[in-house]
């Protein structure tokens, strides 16, 4: 069992590293800037080591049982106390290990990636310490979220990861697209966070029920303990509020629009924050409070249906995208949909298992994309092709990640996706049959876009990279870059190889059907105190067949080119446009809601009201204040006899007032 101070250090070490980078290294001499990378890696690696110790300590038992600390109290002795603490149970331990582990690997990759970017940007390292500071602080905030004992504490860290996500998407803030994407991510997730906050306040409104049980309505263990006594109505509204926050953070329909744009950040950021960790925070939140969701069939079905729909909907948009990072972003949205689907059919352990596997293989795919970009300096797959010839390691890494994502036996994605399908097949809720078929459809599309991505990027003839991109379409900073036909340096390929090992093995090793040497069967499920999922050969066969069909279709269209979709004519072109425009949802949000309803309607009306009415009143008050003050200042003559008179008159007035009163 980990001592409590060590548990706090899991958050503290990356925090310290981040503060060193931004507080000590950045303002100092340039010679120290390259140190920032090592400081960041060291802090995160320390957190990872402690997280592994925590996983080890949590094995075979539940909550580590640290008492929360009193932060402040309101309303005297029998009032309400706010607490802070570390909630270290198997769920948070495994999540902390994934977050810190992936973060450490990505920061190692960044040592190479950001060096190059920084050199090219300014001929200096000025962005370098800032980058590692943000990454370390993000990691600290994410670990704080994972280990939070109460919902307010969790919400604070939830907003902090949002802040660092904003800062990192807009890392190259001089690019208008990056600045706009950062803003969009911040605002769209904020809509969900509003629901989250309402959910918290709704629980607080019911503090009477909690107080009757002697519990605190903000503490997560207390909520789980009280959930069965709350009644389905209370549980539904609280759970739906929390789910709104989760859907915003995890980019679920209809709040998914920010994630593809978030790819404007540096690629390692996309891989850590917008694929492996932060976007999974929503899944984690629902899993964390699963006991509350379980009490409401309506909330569970909502989660399942939103997840299932998003899985298909986002995968469809991934079919037609040409930007490699956008394809991966749509894929992330779709895979997060899978996880919510699993939660919604009552299998939190399965959802966490998919989160665990997805963190590795999606991170790997993003790092591969970054590695390719390192060579060809574009993310547009139409200008790639044949890259495997000079990037064999990157190609293998991408292939492993892709096969895993597509759910091909025996890679990790196969196992967790199969568990999800099995859970949906065996689910008893009303939504379960619907979402099973949605998940199967998404599996087909996933295999298709994955193989399309691999074929367009690595196979065929090289189509020129950045040099072939029309000049006006290039990102300004990359206008002067050229293609370098060489493999990325070892500091970048090594992390990819490490992740590839996990992408291959984490599926059957962590939750295998039979005992594998020291690892017992279904270790992961039992670790989370869940029942082992059923393995159905029928479901596994169906999902494999569907995935192979998707892969085959992609191979025919983009590999051998035996079929061409253009033959379908107008309907095909219409479908392509629909997908390329992301079902016109972004346009709907921006043009109709933001521009017409909010800007021209509500904001203009508010503006008029503010100018005429509010400012008018304020101006009047201000006028009165200035001139009234001036009048009173006139009395202040500086003559001491006037002052004395004022004292006497004042006393006299009060006396007369009371004399008249009787």
């Amino acid at each position: 069992m980990l001592p409590e101070a060590a548990a706090w250090l899991i958050i503290g070490l990356p925090l310290l590293a981040g503060l060193i980078c931004i507080g000590a290294l950045r303002p100092w001499r340039r010679g120290l800037w390259p140190l920032a990378g090592y400081v960041g890696v060291a802090g995160t690696a320390g957190a990872f080591a402690l997280s592994l110790a925590a996983v080890n300590g949590a094995m075979g038992q539940g909550d580590a049982g640290y008492e929360p600390h009193r932060w402040f109290a309101v309303g005297g002795r029998d009032g309400f106390a706010m607490t802070v603490g570390v909630l270290l149970d198997p769920l948070s331990a495994i999540m902390a290990a994934v977050v810190s582990g992936v973060s450490a690997v990505v920061q190692v990759f960044s040592l190479g990636y950001m060096k190059k970017e920084s050199d090219a940007e300014n001929g200096a390292w000025s962005d370098y310490p800032r980058y590692f500071a943000y990454m370390s602080l993000f990691t600290a905030a994410m670990l704080g979220l994972v280990l939070a004992y109460n919902l307010i504490q969790l919400f604070v860290f939830w907003e902090l990861v949002g802040l660092f996500s904003y800062l990192l998407i807009g890392f190259w803030h001089h690019r208008p697209a990056a600045a706009a994407a950062a803003k969009k991510a911040f605002i769209v997730t904020r809509i969900g966070d509003f629901g989250f906050l309402l959910g918290i306040l709704y629980l607080f409104l019911h503090r009477g029920e909690f107080a009757a049980l002697g519990l605190n309505p903000f503490e997560i263990p207390a909520i789980l303990e009280a959930a069965p006594m709350l009644g389905a109505g209370v549980a539904t509204w609280a759970a739906l509020g929390l789910f709104a926050g989760a859907a915003g953070k995890s980019a679920q329909f209809p709040l998914h629009t920010w994630l593809p744009d978030a790819m404007e950040g540096p690629t390692p950021v996309s891989s850590l924050i917008h694929a492996a960790t932060m976007v999974a925070a929503g899944v984690f939140l629902v899993a964390r409070l699963f006991g509350l969701f379980e009490q409401s069939a309506a909330a569970m079905d909502t989660v399942a249906l939103i997840g299932g729909f998003t899985a298909v909907f986002a995968a469809a948009m991934g079919l037609a995208a040409n930007d490699i990072k956008r394809v991966l972003a749509f894929s992330t949205v779709s895979q997060l949909g899978y996880m919510f689907l699993a939660l919604g059919v009552g299998a939190p352990g399965v959802a966490m298992f998919h989160l665990f596997n997805h963190a590795f293989f999606k991170c790997l795919l993003f790092l591969s994309a970054g590695s390719v970009h390192h060579s060809v300096h574009t993310f547009d797959m139409r200008y790639m092709g044949g890259v495997r010839k000079w990037m064999p390691a990157t190609y293998l890494a991408a292939l492993v990640g892709g096969l895993s994502l597509a759910g091909i036996f025996p890679l990790s994605g196969f196992w967790s996706k199969d568990e999800i399908l099995g859970a949906a097949w065996g689910g008893e809720s009303a939504a379960a049959p619907v979402v099973f078929w949605l998940a199967l459809a998404a599996a087909f599309m996933t295999a298709f876009y994955v193989f399309r991505l691999i074929l367009m990027t690595f196979h065929g003839e090289f189509r020129g990279g950045v040099d072939a991109v029309p000049y006006e379409e290039r990102i300004p900073d990359e206008a002067h870059h050229h293609v370098h036909r060489r493999e990325s340096p070892l500091v970048m390929t090594l992390p990819m190889i490490l992740l590839a090992v996990f992408a291959i093995g984490s599926g059957f090793a962590a939750n295998s059907l039979v005992a594998l040497g020291p690892i017992p069967a279904h270790w992961f499920s039992h670790f989370l105190h869940e029942d082992a999922p059923d393995f159905s050969i029928g479901v596994a066969g169906a999902s494999t067949a569907v995935a192979l069909a998707g892969a085959a279709l992609a191979a025919l269209a983009y590999g051998t080119r035996t079929i061409s979709f253009d033959r379908f004519g107008a309907p095909w072109r219409f479908g392509g446009r629909l997908l390329a425009q992301r079902f016109y949802l972004d346009a709907l949000y921006e043009d109709l809601i933001v521009r017409r309803v909010l800007h021209r309607g509500l904001f203009l009306a508010s503006d008029w009201f503010d100018r005429r009415i509010v400012d008018g009143v304020a101006d009047l008050a201000g006028w009165f204040g200035r001139n009234g003050g001036r009048a009173a200042a006139q009395l202040q003559t500086g003559q001491v006899q006037v002052y004395g008179a004022a004292v006497s008159m004042g006393a006299a007035v009060i006396l007369i007032f009371y004399l008249l009163q009787r």
């Binding site: 003050g629 001036r630 004395g644 009787r662």
Partner: protein, 507 residues
């Protein structure tokens, strides 16, 4: 019934402080102290440990045995008195710490300045522990007369002399009101005892309860006594319409005097008002509660409105002191409803207000020396040129506005909460509106410092020649600013002490 050793122990903090004051003046004759004036400053500040230690010993004693009476009932030592004594000692110590550099212009009389300040502080301490009307008056004069000399200390400057004369004349006038009121009170009740030990004769409140009521306050003599006492104390509290000396003296007197008047002097004055009205006039609390509520509304509104028109930083702080006297009166009015809530909110706010006002005065003092002027527009660009004092001033002004997370926010929260609990919702609303109005001029200063550029004219040569801010002054700046923020996050400790102190007023 002579003086016993126990009596000496009970008055030990005041005695030690007076002895320290004398010692500081005498030590200045030694050659070493002549050569290095910092030694005198260090002795004055370090010596404060003795009265504080006696105070701590008394707190332990009082905590165990309850309120103690000395000098045949002339002196009462309870947690209320001790809380105020600690506050006075802290304000005096910090003022000495911050004003070492400023006092250099009084050379070779800087030790006398420190001595006067300590004498006045001993009077303020005694005021908090005074149990009868005579002791109150004596303590008040002991606290006031050194301030007259301190206000006029920069004797080559006409404004300083003017401030001294004004303070002398008006304090004499207000003393006359106070004595007149005390005479009425003695006439009506036949006793001087505001509070008394068990079996120590009747107190004023007990004596008044015997005589029948009728007019407001339960009799014309008592009514006259109460109103004359309000007028007399009103001078010290700077409440409208007895406030008019405040901006003149704050502006004209040396800056440390303003800081001392606004914090230590105001704290002791509020303490004696709470004690006299809650104890002696306890039977007429509905009447004086209404009076103080009305005075609170008038005082904070007028103080804030006139502050808007000010151009001089010290004068602005003077009107700010008037406005804050109004906020504090909210708590006094709430205290009329019984219970410890009103008095404890006043005591907490006195501590919070001391931290904010000391920080503001110290920062204004440092900045005035740096930029070479005391007008608000002289501070333009100070945020960039002198970031540390400008930051401290910003923190202090944010606190005075009452914006979280600062001591001022917490203090106002407790005051308004006390008002609402006492059924004075309208007064809490007036207070909140006034806080919003006050943001106008407080934030204006911050904006001038941090958002406006320094004037193009080159800074006056003596600004550059000004001696560097001493470390002691920087420490005082840092400590007070830190206290403003710390009390915003962790008000618990001071609030618990204030509540314990307020509870000792209820008996």
């Amino acid at each position: 019934m002579g003086i016993t050793g126990r009596d000496i122990f009970l008055i030990a903090p005041e005695l030690a402080l007076a002895a320290l004051a004398a010692a500081v003046v005498l030590l200045d004759l030694a050659p070493a102290f002549r050569r290095n004036e910092r030694l005198g400053q260090a002795a004055a500040i370090g010596g404060l440990i003795v009265p504080v230690a006696f105070g701590a010993a008394l707190w332990v004693d009082v905590h165990a045995n309850g309120a103690q009476y000395g000098f045949n009932g002339a002196l009462v030592v309870d947690k209320f008195a001790l809380y105020v004594k600690f506050l006075v000692a802290a304000a005096a110590g910090l003022t000495l710490l911050a004003s070492g550099g400023y006092a250099r212009r009084f050379r070779p009389y800087q030790a006398e300045f420190a001595g006067l300040l300590l004498f006045s502080a001993s009077g303020l301490m005694l005021l908090a522990a005074a149990a009868d009307l005579i002791t109150i008056y004596v303590a008040l004069e002991l606290a006031t007369l050194p301030v007259v000399a301190m206000a006029a200390f920069a004797k080559t400057r006409a404004e300083s002399l003017e401030a001294g004369v004004k303070y002398l004349l008006l304090s004499a006038a207000s003393s006359a009101f106070l004595l007149y009121g005390f005479a009425f009170l003695y006439g009506a009740s036949g006793t001087m005892q505001v509070v008394a030990p068990e079996g120590g004769g009747p107190t004023i409140a007990q004596a008044l309860a015997q005589s029948g009521g009728g007019a407001p306050f339960g009799g014309f003599a008592v009514m006259a006594a109460a109103i004359l006492a309000v007028a007399g104390f009103g001078f010290k509290l700077s409440i409208v319409p007895f406030h008019m000396w405040t901006p003149d003296v704050y502006e004209g007197a040396p800056t440390p005097v303003g800081a001392f008047l606004a914090t230590a002097s105001k704290a002791a004055a509020f303490a004696v008002v709470l004690r006299v009205f809650m104890e002696a006039f306890g039977g007429a609390s509905a009447d004086w509660g209404g009076l103080f509520a009305a005075l609170a509304a008038v005082t904070m509104t007028l103080g804030n409105l006139v502050a808007i028109a000010q151009r001089n930083v010290k004068r602005l702080l003077g009107y700010s002191a008037v406005a804050h006297a109004g906020y504090l009166l909210i708590g006094v009015a709430a205290a009329s409803q019984g219970g410890a809530l009103g008095a404890s909110s006043v005591l907490f706010y006195l501590g919070a207000y001391a931290a904010m006002t000391l920080a503001a005065f110290f920062a204004a003092m440092t900045l005035a020396e740096r930029v070479g002027g005391e007008r608000i527009e002289d501070l333009a660009g100070a945020g960039r040129r002198f970031p540390f004092p400008a930051l401290v001033l910003a923190v202090a002004l944010i606190g005075l506005t009452g914006i979280p997370p600062t001591a001022g926010f917490m203090g106002k929260l407790f005051l308004f909460n006390a008002a609402v609990n006492a059924g004075l919702v309208w007064l809490a609303v007036v207070g909140a509106v006034n806080s919003a109005v006050s943001a106008y001029y407080y934030v204006g200063v911050i904006r001038t410092m941090h958002l406006r550029d320094a004037p193009d004219v080159p800074p006056s040569p003596d600004a550059d020649a000004a001696p560097r801010t001493p470390l002691a002054a920087k420490t005082a700046l840092g400590v007070t600013a830190l206290a403003v923020v710390a009390l915003g996050f962790w008000p618990g400790g001071l609030l618990a002490a204030a509540r314990a102190a307020a509870e000792s007023l209820l008996r």
